[in-house]
Symmetry: C2
Subunit: 131 residues, 2 copies
């Protein structure tokens, strides 16, 4: 049984939670820079993530804490955690064992796939800088 009050109050004070009490957690492979998945954390999930070396999410669909890899073996070992400027998003850099996605692909974005998108380019580097 884990302590349900594991988050530093100074960090808790900086969070801007949604209606469900959650902030978004972007998970990135620390060395390759791959964006692996997006999960959700409440205060307790963030507290566990910051103090245990393993990533814990709040599962919105199952309504429970979910320590990544406990079932699948695809553990996420924490390397660093940063909060964004307005406190509603986390960047969690990890060492991901195996597939980050429950579908078996390395990232959840490979699983969902690319959408058709018009590619944009800055007009001209020099012109851009003098504007």
């Amino acid at each position: 049984m884990q302590n349900q009050d594991s988050l530093d109050p100074a960090v808790a004070a900086r969070l801007k939670r949604d209606e469900q009490g959650l902030v978004a957690a972007i998970v990135q492979q620390h060395d390759s820079g791959e964006v692996l998945m997006l999960g959700w954390m409440d205060d307790e999930a963030l507290g566990r993530t910051l103090t245990t070396g393993r990533v814990t999410f709040w599962s919105r669909s199952r309504g429970e804490y979910w320590r990544k890899g406990d079932t699948s073996g695809h553990r996420q070992y924490v390397r660093s955690v940063a909060l964004d400027c307005d406190g509603d998003a986390l960047l969690v850099r990890v060492d991901q064992v195996g597939a980050a996605c429950h579908t078996g692909t390395r990232t959840c974005f490979e699983a969902g796939g690319e959408l058709d998108a018009v590619v944009g380019h800055r007009p001209d580097e020099t012109a851009e800088e003098t504007r």
Copy 2:
């Protein structure tokens, strides 16, 4: 005046929106892999992003569409857009002009800064694989 119905219905059918009709959009610099920021998109913002080569968000705080860079000059040119496995997150790879964060730092996570975190390591590569 832009069309308010710009998203392909086949893409719209795949989105799992929150109570406000939004999905999270992770923005990553396409070449360096830096995670720049997290924004939010409704169907219209995603439609505009997919069809114009520039990233448009829905601003939750201001309650309006917000094409990144129109005020600051810090434009985001779209290189690719992927949807995740369960349809509630987008990965938007861009060419970011200047600072992604309104505070003036390159990323919103530099602005917010690192939290104290215990670092985790996989126990042993060989042991891990035989478990």
